[in-house]
Symmetry: C2
Subunit: 308 residues, 2 copies
């Protein structure tokens, strides 16, 4: 009998219990799934960092901690957590992110805001074709690669950038410091999908924002600290940037007094771009436990040195 | 020397002359391209129905009339035009239509209007996945099929309907009267891409609109007469329909006094969804003249009985 502890907020337990049990049954795994095992007996922990479980010292037999969240920056700082840690890569989350990013890229590309605001006259402005609109995706992990590929399929010339070299069909892949400037210099629309690590903090600051072409627009469904707030506001106010759509923030919920709320060139959305979906996330967790039990390497394991 | 007459508004001549001459040269065709040939000597007419040329009786040697427009309803009523008539199927126009339709489908799917309007509070509403959002495309010609395919690639369950049976991979294809009700009954988002013929007038009237599920949204980048204006307004006012985005109208520009302009559940766009692009359209025209000269059947020839 495999002992699995579910450690997340109570409302998550309500949502996840049924799909997890169903996925365990389908996989033919005999599992004792609970919120309250004795720590030393636990084989796997299904984990959200806002649960009560913060001290992993007693979990001496634990083979893996399986995060319900895609971003693990709130977990990797936990020094008691020495067990193998896996990020959530949920196909439902990826699909939702691709839809959200594609929708906002097309909103910018077609200037849908203008259509909605200026409904007072017949004044045709035909947008260029996607093939004339270079788009750049910073970060080519599971989410960035999926978004880049979907945008390329719609005809956008897509450049992707990642810390280390990657190769994705149909995408111009840049990497490292040298590639970073090239990736930004032609981006009419820039999408941020980098992980939140010390190295990615303030990826967009006054200096790097100045590399973007005049009139560029930014979409950040990644993490708040990727952008230096004051530098973004300055770039918008000087009209160097045309607009920003932000789904993530340094502090969430975004405080009411934050200047992003009222800025005419900023759209704030309340961290809705990527949501883990219980059905598909449960299947991923069960798949990883099955791999652990049969001696296969775990999927999406976090590299503690890199932080993701 | 092939004699080609260009019959469209003067500003079109300015736009099309260079790309047409270039495409003729590339195809190795010796062409005398002008606006003013002697009618009896003309081999081909490149045509827009708002040009001065309305009487085709003298064009006795003309092998084909090649429309610059995708919709030919303003041409097929011309009884002097007995020559083979070809519609414009421009890959640039198709790409632009796919981008416009996909953008507005995602706008509805993600409820982007709500994000833009309610930027005053942190109130997360996560949209469903595309796979939970059935979309129907009425009309499976070149444009409808391309839009249906792009939407299916994004994960939407897409139903397509056409007058006669069609088969498109990844699309649930319905046809005829029996299939029409099925195509409408589950459409959360309905896209109109039917041709403008007497048979398609008022495709959406009070009766057919009532087949749509409550809260459905409509996108019409096809032709104005496909919808009975008063029935659409009534369905929106009764909250049976949630919203409509209209790019085409019975009268264009849409008259200032028309109730569509001020309606809170209607977005009016000024016929910008599909625009013929000179570069790609010129290549299509030259390809058809080349086919005509080498005895191959013309592409996209209009069936006068059906009207498209």
């Amino acid at each position: 009998m495999i002992k699995v502890q579910f450690a997340a907020r109570p409302e998550r337990w309500d949502t996840y219990q049924a799909p997890l049990r169903e996925a365990f049954a389908k996989a033919g795994l005999q599992v004792d799934l609970r919120q309250d095992h004795a720590p030393a007996e636990v084989d796997y922990v299904i984990y959200a960092p806002n649960s009560d479980l913060q001290d992993f010292t007693g979990y001496t037999a634990c083979k893996a901690v399986l995060s319900l969240w895609a971003g693990v920056e709130k977990i990797t700082g936990n020094t008691t957590l020495t067990q193998p840690l896996c990020r959530m890569v949920d196909p439902g989350l990826t699909a939702g992110m691709v839809e959200w990013v594609t929708g906002h890229v097309l909103r910018y590309h077609l200037d849908i805001d203008r259509s909605l605001k200026t409904q007072d006259r017949w004044d045709p402005v035909v947008p260029p074709l996607a093939q004339e609109r270079p788009v750049t995706v910073l970060g080519l992990g599971a989410l960035g690669a999926a978004c880049a590929t979907a945008l390329a399929q719609l005809g956008f010339p897509v450049t992707g950038w990642s810390r280390s070299a990657k190769c994705i069909p149909g995408i111009t892949c840049e990497y490292g410091d040298a590639g970073f400037a090239r990736a930004l210099q032609q981006a009419q629309i820039l999408i941020l999908l980098l992980p939140d690590t010390p190295a990615t903090h303030n990826t967009l600051d006054a200096k790097t924002l100045s590399l973007l072409p005049k009139g560029a627009r930014i979409i950040n469904p990644g993490r708040g600290p990727l952008i230096e707030d004051a530098a973004l506001l300055a770039a918008l106010d000087s009209s160097h940037l045309a607009h920003a759509t932000l789904d993530v923030f340094r502090q969430e919920p975004l405080p009411q007094e934050h200047p992003f709320w009222a800025h005419p060139q900023i759209t704030v959305t309340p961290h809705i771009a990527a949501e883990t979906r219980p059905l598909t996330a449960s299947q991923m967790i069960v798949q990883n436990i099955q791999r652990g039990e049969t001696g296969l390497p775990l999927l999406n394991q976090v590299n503690r040195d890199l932080g993701y």
